[in-house]
Amino acid sequence: MAEVVLEIKNLTRRFGAFTAVDSLTLSVNAGEVFGLLGSNGAGKTTTIKMLTTLLPPTSGGARVAGFSITTQAVGVRRAIGYVPQAVSVDGSLTGYENLLIFAKLYDLPHREQQARIAEALEFMNLTADAKRLVAEYSGGMVRRLEIAQSTLHRPKVLFLDEPTVGLDPIARDAVWKHLVDMRANYGTTLFFTTHYLEEAESHCDRIAIMHLGKLDALGTCQELEASLGPGHTLNDVFVHYAGSALDTGNNFRAVSAERATAERLG
């Protein structure tokens, strides 16, 4: 039995009378690549924000790497990395500086800081651009830098909210290549959201489909496809559980945030 690194129990978040995440229960094993799918407004970002201790749950809870998100937030924060939906590196610092500040904030031992940063830059293929201002980076480079930044401290779980939104196919592949390598090298558990089904199909060990705050389906892609009978694709599964890709729950804030992200990422 594999080690459970993420254990979510009845996790619920309401905004006023509106329930954005409705009694979510699931667990993720150490080293797994886990994809959370769902149409706009399904509650994916809200779920990730609760798991990363940014948003307190209304009820229910979760343990991340053994720490409770409600009572041991600092423990959780030490154990995770987080790549938000929007751009999270600072354009007025160089790539190297963006990494250095996080090396310091995560208490990496002084002797190891430079080596870790060099390794992360090399790993993400950014060594040549380390001294350039991030404002000059392309969207794909920004994403790779963000991943480097949030994994410097070797987190047990890396949360990524739409890591490839707004990227061209080549940049997207590059990001995934690095994510997959990272799991192989450090055993990092990847918990990510995406709207790209083919991404889920080719990289995830298991996926969950959320719809209007509820968990509607959970399993490997093959299991979910088979559950609808022979000859079904992941797209059919998605349409079956989540309606069409862009139906309810779609609101201005979500869309404008995504557009803005896409724009900034070029």
Binding site: K49, R77, A79, L105, D107, P109, H153, R154
Partner: protein
């Protein structure tokens, strides 16, 4: 994952300076801002100050009016620069930067105070400008090293105070538009309900009372005491420091409580 045990207080101080350091590194490309910021104190001292000094409209006791307002204008420009600091925080929130820092184990108070200090250090340039102008206008300054050190510390503390206040506002309003509105509404009253450009003795009773609740009044009093060659403090320098330090501490604690709101 590296788990080293570090005493919370050491960690707090260390993280505060890490935040300050990187905020200051961002300044390297910011020279236009330094120039535009010089303009406002120059206008106040050269135009407003000159006109009112000539009329003798203000009774500022044994010190000339220009000498009287030089520290007031310094305090004012510190206030004006610091009070809009929160806009950066809103900008960083609209990107995902605030969220990323909040998901790290950094103490919230260190995030807030670190930013405050950096605003403090950025604002030192205002001191240089006002000293330069004062020299030009023949204001009698106190050049003793102790006095200069005091002015330096007061500028940093005052900017920390007002930038943290600004951050607290940002945590409430969350959008740039509302922030600009609130910022504009607040700065003028803070400035006018203080002893920056006229002695509080000239004020009607109610305004005088308000000015005594205004931290800017104590900043001005402290600056006036240390900057000028012959000036006596109204409230006593230690009391000024006390008010400034206590207000800053309270604001940092409030800011640390409110800062996580920006991630939601």
């Amino acid at each position: 994952m590296t788990a080293t045990f570090i005493h919370p207080l050491t960690s707090f101080v260390e993280k505060t300076f890490v935040i300050t350091e990187f905020e200051l590194r961002k300044l390297r490309h910011d020279f236009t801002e330094l120039v535009t910021r010089a303009l406002q104190p120059a206008l106040w001292l050269l135009i407003f100050g000159q006109v009112f000094a000539r009329n003798g409209a203000m009774h500022t006791g044994n010190i000339p009016y220009l000498d009287f307002i030089a520290p007031g204008i310094l305090a004012q420009s510190v206030l004006f620069v610091a009070i809009f600091y929160g806009i950066n925080v809103i900008w960083e929130r609209d990107l995902g930067i605030v969220q990323k820092f909040l998901a790290s184990p950094t103490p919230r108070a260190a995030l807030v105070l670190g930013k405050g200090f950096s605003a403090g250090i950025r604002t030192l340039s205002q001191g240089v400008i006002v000293y330069g102008l004062s020299l030009l206008l023949g204001v009698k300054l106190n050049w003793s090293p102790l006095a200069l050190l005091n002015v330096l510390v007061i500028i940093i503390l005052a900017a920390t105070l007002f930038s943290t206040f600004s951050l607290v506002i940002a945590c409430f309003v969350k959008t740039r538009e509302r922030f600009m509105g609130v910022g504009q509404v607040l700065t003028m009253p803070l400035f006018f309900a203080s002893n920056a450009i006229y002695p509080t003795d000239m004020m009607p009773g109610w305004l005088k009372m308000v000015s005594h609740l205004n931290p800017l009044t104590y900043v001005v009093d402290a600056l006036r005491t240390c900057m000028l060659a012959d000036s006596t403090s109204t409230f006593g320098l230690s009391f000024d420091y006390l008010v400034i330090l206590v207000t800053t501490t309270v604001l940092v604690l409030v800011g640390a409580r409110l800062y996580p709101r920006l991630a939601t």
